[in-house]
């Protein structure tokens, strides 16, 4: 079993920072039009990210320790991991919990017949009972979720498999528990990113890696010793498109991660041609990218296998970094056609081009359209004033901008969790780039300990 790196979860309450940032952004956006700034005027009202289960708002969960079904060390160790990881997963999903000290104050859980009165007494609404055992080379975990009020069972699941990574059992249970809520869980999702950790002075390289969403279980994808950058998941989770210098020029490659095979030069560049910024449509059938084959860098869209490419932008400016809307009917991209890089929108056929970023900052790039349709918003990398870069989100309906990072060094390359509730990006702090996660309100920022080196360009996959 590979050694895992513990994620360091540095959380911070950033409300006041955020408010200050919003005022700053608002005043830039309004510019000269508003003479006197109105500080407490318009903090955008974000929809409350409250978990609802069976009509209950933000119910309080109790997740007591997993109970081993056998006394052997393997079963006990598996149980300890499952408890720890399941709690972390559910906390990440923003569920509410009763204090752990209260759990230890009541009699130990009887997993077969919980005394619901005890759990009601400490304020729990929902009780999650887990049991596990390792027997005959197999780990079996049972999870039961009860409404404390009436003891009613909401979910009963049994998971079995190889015992080498009990974390995956907890991730599966967390995602199943999340099916009781209005949100889809992300505990089984993975993030791909670029790192120079296996680079050497003689042979500087960047390779692709995959980690679980919580930073554990890093695995290397590319091994070619070249520059491999800008990875993006195919929506089916079985392949990653990326840019590789393996054949000299930057070209788009496709890594089939389960087969360990790659397809070179997907977009069919010839000679000096370079292609980068691959982005799949949500249905996985189309691939948008940037190419210089027509002279200047333009946006193209092709089949997911690179077939039948069509040119979408035709300016002499640099048109790069496309991203699809959740419906696949629109594409946002970056263009410096007005002098500085700004975000633009167009229909997926290249028509109806209009500017998205207005007035806020002189450098806006690297769009990531929130995949959840209920949030009509685009995250991007912004330089709001000279100096470092920050992650910002523009609401498509109101065009209000909210800043997600501030004073964390330079941050760039946002990518959304599949459910649109969290963002991943990379930030440079103390001269090192690290993968960082925040929720869509810019709270609970945490650095993922994915391993050594500079870790950049994360893409959150299914």
């Amino acid at each position: 079993m590979a050694k895992n790196h513990a994620p360091s979860r540095r959380s911070s309450s950033r409300r006041s920072d955020l408010a200050a940032a919003l005022v700053a952004v608002a005043s830039i956006a309004l510019g000269a039009a508003t003479a006197a700034p109105r500080p407490q005027a318009q903090e955008p009202q974000l929809p409350a990210d409250r978990i609802v289960i069976g009509g209950m708002q933000a119910p309080k969960f109790a997740v007591p320790d997993c109970v081993p079904k056998r006394p052997d060390e393997a079963s006990q160790a598996a149980c300890r991991t499952i408890t720890q990881v399941l709690r972390a997963d559910l906390r990440f999903e923003n569920l509410s919990f009763v204090q752990e000290s209260l759990i230890s104050a009541i009699p130990p859980l009887n997993p077969q017949a919980p005394k619901f009165e005890d759990w009601k007494g400490i304020g729990a609404n929902i009780l999650v009972v887990t049991q596990a055992e390792v027997a005959n080379g197999e780990l079996v975990t049972e999870v039961r979720v009860h409404f404390v009020d009436n003891g009613q069972s909401m979910l009963q699941r049994r998971y079995s498999g190889k015992p080498d990574n009990p974390r995956t059992f907890a991730h599966a249970a967390s995602d199943d528990i999340m099916t009781l809520t209005q949100y889809k869980g992300v505990a089984k999702t993975r993030i791909t990113f670029v790192s120079d950790r296996d680079s050497s002075k003689e042979r500087p390289s960047k390779e692709l890696y995959i980690v679980d969403y919580d930073g554990f279980n890093p695995r290397r994808v590319t091994v070619n010793g070249s520059l491999n950058i800008l990875p993006t998941w195919r929506p089916d989770g079985a392949a990653i498109a990326y840019v590789s210098y393996r054949q000299g020029s930057p070209q788009i490659f496709l890594a089939k991660i389960f087969e360990g095979q790659s397809v070179a030069n997907l977009s069919g560049e010839k000679g000096d041609g370079q292609a980068f910024s691959p982005a799949f449509s949500p249905d996985g059938k189309s691939l948008a990218f940037a190419s210089n084959r027509a002279g200047s860098t333009d946006i193209f869209v092709a089949g997911a296998d690179g077939s039948s490419p069509r040119r979408l932008t035709t300016t002499q400016a640099k048109d790069t970094a496309p991203c699809f809307s959740p419906t696949g009917q629109e594409i946002a991209f970056t263009s410096d056609r007005t002098g500085t890089p700004q975000l633009w929108l167009m229909d997926a056929d290249g028509l109806n081009v209009r500017r998205l970023s207005v007035g806020s900052g002189n450098y806006n790039d690297g769009c990531a359209w929130n995949p959840a349709k209920q949030y009509s918003e685009v995250a991007y990398t912004a330089r709001l004033e000279a100096g470092g870069f920050d992650i910002a989100i523009v609401d498509l309906a109101t065009r209000q901008v909210r800043q997600i990072t501030e004073g964390r060094g330079s941050c760039e390359y946002p990518s959304w969790a599949p459910n649109g509730r969290h963002l991943v990006f990379s930030c440079q702090r103390n001269k090192r780039w690290e993968i960082t996660i925040a929720d869509r309100d810019g709270r609970s920022l945490q650095t993922l300990a994915t391993g050594p080196g500079n870790n950049v360009q994360p893409d959150w996959g299914p």
Binding site: P250, Q274, N292, T297, T320, A321, T334, G366
Partner: protein, 195 residues
């Protein structure tokens, strides 16, 4: 660990390597000697062939790695000038610009003359950017820089089939400091000469 036994063949390897390196260093001397005289701070490199040879012999990992691989070193054909240095100096650019300055043009004019005397030489023009700005935008910007250099060389009579263009964006900076002088060094077109 059978350390004393392993040590004996290693000694032979060191000796053999000393001969190999001696030969190849002599051959490479012109390339090393022309390495960016203006950029101090390279330290270990660029202090002349003799010191380089001594250092390589003293450093265990270099020797062991080569011996351990069971490989002997040889020049890659056409690869002599592909690293830093080389006969064609870099040209530099202003922030977020691919416009050729007067200085860059006069450097490119010298490059064109050199290339006319070296009919067999082919050049890969690498466009590079400083670390500010996003990966994608810098890939496009680096491409514009390399293309601007190529177009000027072509206008001076260098055959386009001898010139290749590749953008490294901000992915392979020459200087790693986060200050204006490092940024300025990294906003460049680099000319890797092969045959």
């Amino acid at each position: 660990m059978p350390f004393p036994i392993a040590r004996l063949p290693l000694t032979f390897l060191v000796l053999a390597l000393a001969l190999t390196l001696g030969a190849s260093c002599t051959k490479r001397t012109p390339a090393l000697a022309s390495a960016h005289p203006g950029e101090g701070g390279a330290g270990a490199e660029g202090d002349g062939a003799a010191q380089a040879r001594t250092q390589q012999l003293q450093e265990g990992p270099d020797v062991r790695a080569i011996g351990g691989e069971g490989a002997s070193g040889s020049d890659i054909p056409g690869g002599a000038f592909t690293g830093e240095g080389g006969p064609l100096a870099d040209i530099h650019f202003e922030l977020d610009s691919a416009a050729l300055s007067d200085g860059a043009r006069s450097t490119l004019e010298k490059h064109a003359l050199w290339l006319q005397g070296q009919r067999g030489a082919r050049v890969t023009i690498e466009g590079h950017c400083d670390e500010r700005g996003t990966t994608e935008y810098n890939l496009a910007l680096g491409e514009q820089r390399a293309r601007a250099a190529r177009d000027y060389l072509v206008s001076l009579g260098v055959g386009q089939d001898r010139l290749r263009v590749v953008s490294f964006g901000k992915e392979r900076p020459l200087a790693t400091g986060g200050d204006e002088s490092s940024y300025a060094q990294n906003r460049r077109a680099h000319f890797a000469v092969g045959r």
